[in-house]
């Protein structure tokens, strides 16, 4: 933090509440971003200070003031927007949206405390590399789409999407930054201040009023970002393009289908061109629309919808990725090719045989005693791993063939878990667990994933077919304190039994999980959380387990409760431990009730009343975790 570089910056060592500023991370039109140390939680944070250089400056007492009285109103308005940005971001808890930790006013200005992300922005990467191959581009783009979809769903638009605002963490996962221009997109007629990034801002941001802006505005920014990665240069500014169309200048935009031909899928390029249409009505109107366009040509297993870890440092010859079970939003039609069709046919026959064997076993040994290996979630769209049939005491396996998915010969490695500098989220763990599942447990066919369009587009049907009774599954799940072998990184390295699916099997009696048999990806993710807990990393465990608990997995809930109890002092929460033990107990987890009562002794009666009401009204959120093959925890 040098005075020469940033003359308006607060000096290093300055204290704002319990944050001690360390250095300037950057300065923009809005103000200054600092790296700071949170002395309460002993962790680095990024703090954004509202100090727009055009209209305000710092005084000797560190306070910020507008240059003149006439600018005071504008300053106040900007300050309000700044606080609104914090509030906007506080609405979203998504791994690909920058996380706001707090906001406060001081020095006659405001400060937004954010999680400090280590990595570099996409603009810097593009500067260095020129262009990006499709795989890496989609690995960066698709998670951002997920996050942005959440933002749009809440009625907000970002309005300033460009490579500079997409940050790539060290583990390769992208995060969308700088919602400085974000505003609620619906229902406000307030005229907008023009905030545009040339090349990345659509025409309506120059000329339109608020009513013409919407998700399509962000889609333009994302399309322009893709164009930059495809062509090696940003698209022409929208105003110049408009003039080109009108003939007043000679410049027009070379379409992505031309500049990227041969290097990218045609459908992908066409989708990028569609996103860059000058008229907002010609663009995809929602993220879901555009995602469908982008992935229309992508064979599953080739372009991953969720593959964050590979973006930062892709291996030279990366094997095809095992696709997580397709979610409703990441569907692709999945083209049928010759070998794939043959493999699918083989799988179908194998599956039917397996079903036959299973039904025979079912009848022979009695439904109530049968052990079934796997259970996909409702949203897994009848995806089936086609593995070897797993022997269990009473039943071999059950398979379904409405959709088939085979895993690639990916060598399992614990490095998949260790590679990230930050603790992985549960979703990441779940994904990694799938990707890193041991080769021994997977079929040795080439990677390929096919999706039955019918089932994929009709999740209700798929759900009806594949969804097991959650309560029963949970009751059969191993106890929290089971003596299962250490998992997490270890689980990836140990041969794991393969997955089979009950899809087409009628289940007159409760389905039970073979606790010695198949381990679903989500089970492995829970195992990873448990392993983190055992090695004393309760924070990482809590991060991994939270979405799984929210999705309804009672073992994850009980483990999360334990993590909440054992986190470092400032993050420890007996209240949340009590809540999660209570929810786990309500979901039938053995032993959770006793733990709930034990933790309850530390709470005030009023806190217990609060917590009990939460427990009583709690509902699972299956969408909290991306669907994965073999998911057995979705309620």
């Amino acid at each position: 933090m040098t005075e020469v570089d940033f003359p308006d910056a607060l000096p290093a060592g300055s204290r704002l509440h319990w944050y001690v500023l360390e250095r300037v991370l950057g300065q923009g039109g809005f103000g200054i971003t600092y790296l700071a140390h949170d002395t309460n939680l002993d962790r680095p944070v990024a703090i954004k200070e509202y100090l727009p250089a055009e209209i305000a400056r710092r005084r000797s007492d560190a306070s910020a003031w507008p240059h003149s009285d006439t600018l005071a109103k504008r300053y106040a308005w900007g300050l309000e927007r700044f606080l609104l940005e914090a509030r906007t971001l506080a609405r979203f808890d998504h791994p690909n949206i920058v996380r706001v930790l707090s906001v406060f006013e001081a020095n006659n200005t405001a400060y937004m405390v954010m999680r400090f992300e280590e990595g570099e922005d996409l603009a810097t990467q593009l500067e260095r590399r020129g262009t990006l191959p499709q795989r890496q581009l989609t690995d960066c783009l698709l998670p951002i789409l997920d996050g942005l979809e959440l933002v749009h769903g809440a009625g907000f638009i970002h309005r300033d999407i460009k490579p500079e605002n997409i940050y790539v963490r060290r583990d390769g996962t992208p995060v969308l930054l700088d919602f400085g221009s974000a505003r609620q997109s619906f229902g406000s007629a307030k005229t907008l201040t023009i905030l545009v990034a040339p090349g990345y801002a659509p025409l309506e941001q120059y000329y339109g009023d608020a009513s013409t802006q919407g998700p399509w505005t962000d889609i333009y920014g994302l399309g322009a970002t893709c164009y930059r990665a495809i062509a090696g240069r940003a698209p022409l500014d929208a105003v110049a393009r408009a003039k080109g169309v009108l003939g007043s200048v000679r410049e027009t935009l070379a379409p992505a289908t031309e500049v990227g031909r041969g290097r990218y899928d045609e459908a992908f390029l066409a989708a990028v061109d569609r996103s860059l249409q000058l008229s907002e009505t010609d663009r995809p109107q929602t993220i879901a629309d555009w995602r469908r366009d982008l992935l229309a040509d992508a064979p599953r297993g080739r372009v991953s919808a969720e593959a964050p870890a590979s973006f930062a440092a892709p291996p030279p010859t990366q094997p095809p990725r095992v696709e997580p079970a397709p979610s409703s939003t990441h569907e692709s039609a999945g083209r049928s090719e010759g070998p794939r069709s043959r493999w699918r046919a083989g799988a179908l026959v194998g599956g039917l045989l397996s079903v036959g064997v299973a039904l025979w076993a079912f009848g022979r040994f009695g439904g109530s005693a049968s052990n079934v290996s796997v259970l996909p979630s409702a949203s897994s769209v009848a995806t089936t791993a086609l593995p070897r049939i797993e022997a269990s005491p009473s039943l071999s396996a059950l398979t379904s063939t409405s959709t088939s998915m085979s895993a690639p010969p990916v060598a399992a490695t614990s490095a998949a878990f260790a590679a990230t500098s930050a603790p992985p989220t549960a979703a990441e763990v779940a994904k990694t667990a799938v990707a890193a599942a041991p080769a021994a447990a997977r079929p040795t066919k080439p990677a390929e994933v096919t999706t039955s369009p019918t089932s994929a587009r009709n999740p209700q049907v798929a759900g009806r077919v594949t969804k097991p009774p959650a309560q029963v599954l949970e009751a059969a799940a191993p106890a929290m304190s089971s003596t299962r072998a250490e998992t997490g990184s270890a689980s990836a390295a140990a041969p794991t039994p393969s997955i089979a699916v009950t899809a087409a099997v009628p289940s007159p009696s409760p389905v039970q999980v073979d606790t010695t048999g198949a381990r679903s990806a989500r089970d492995q993710a829970i195992d990873a959380g448990e392993a983190a807990l055992r090695r004393g990393d309760a924070n990482a465990a809590a991060q991994m387990l939270a979405p799984l608990a929210a999705a309804g997995a009672s073992r994850a809930q009980a483990l999360l409760a334990r993590a909440q109890e054992t986190r470092p002092a400032a993050q420890r929460s007996d209240f949340e431990a009590y809540v999660w033990y209570g929810i786990a107990a309500r979901n039938g987890h053995a032993g959770a009730q006793a733990q709930r009562e034990r933790v309850g002794a530390k709470l005030q009666p009023a806190e217990i009343r609060q917590a009990d009401q939460i427990i009583e009204r709690w509902k699972p959120r299956p969408e909290a975790v991306p669907a994965t093959p073999g998911d057995r925890t979705a309620p």
Binding site: L84, R87, E105, A154
Partner: protein, 202 residues
């Protein structure tokens, strides 16, 4: 001059008396006094919360959550736990936050009679010299947000957290004095309501 000379003497005498009295009370008596304090404050606190701890707001749970989070941050509280889906927010800060020094001082003065009455049976006359100081304490606030028919039900609870770990076998000072709770709840809800009104328009 007389006053200036007398002040150090009085201060010295006061400190000496405190030491003397502190030495007079055994550990067992002090533990009993803290337990009595917790118990007595708890009764008042529960009454107060029943009256003032939960309020209904005509807003969505999400908006209430965001507004409360921003309101508490404005009052200097640091978010420690948050789960919008669960409807739980936990914040903490060194006492006297979220109150100012003045607010703490004036409210705690009103609580002194109760405090002294509660501990007098255990520490005798020393009770008259006890003050309710914020040093070494964090204030922890739990906010919960529940859907209600007409909006969102927002509940607050407040507790104290000693920064230094308690001595083995000693009770923790959990409960905030009643007037401090009252002033705190009113301040938080007032800030929250302002924040709700200033929030993004739909």
């Amino acid at each position: 001059m007389r006053l200036a000379a007398a002040k150090p003497l009085r201060t010295l005498g006061f400190a000496f008396l405190l030491l003397l009295l502190a030495a007079c009370a055994s550990d067992a008596e002090k533990i009993s006094a803290i337990n009595a304090l917790n118990q007595g404050f708890r009764v008042e606190y529960e009454k107060l919360l029943a009256e003032k701890g939960t309020r209904l707001f005509k807003t969505t749970r999400e908006d209430a959550f965001v507004a409360m989070r921003v309101a508490l941050a404005q009052l200097g509280m640091q978010t420690e736990q948050q789960d919008m889906a669960l409807g739980h927010l936990a914040v903490a800060a060194a006492a006297p936050l979220p109150l100012s020094d003045d607010e703490w001082r004036s409210a705690s003065q009103l609580d002194l009679p109760l405090l002294r009455r509660l501990i007098q049976p255990y520490v005798g006359a020393a009770a008259n010299f006890v003050q309710f100081e914020p040093q070494g304490l964090d204030v922890v606030i739990n906010a919960t947000f529940l859907d209600a028919t007409a909006g969102t039900e927002v509940s607050l609870t407040v507790r104290l957290r000693e920064r230094a770990p308690p001595r083995s076998g000693w009770p923790r000072r959990d409960y905030v004095a009643p007037h401090l709770v009252t002033v705190g709840l009113e301040k938080i809800f007032a800030t929250f309501e302002r924040e709700l009104k200033a929030g993004p328009q739909r």
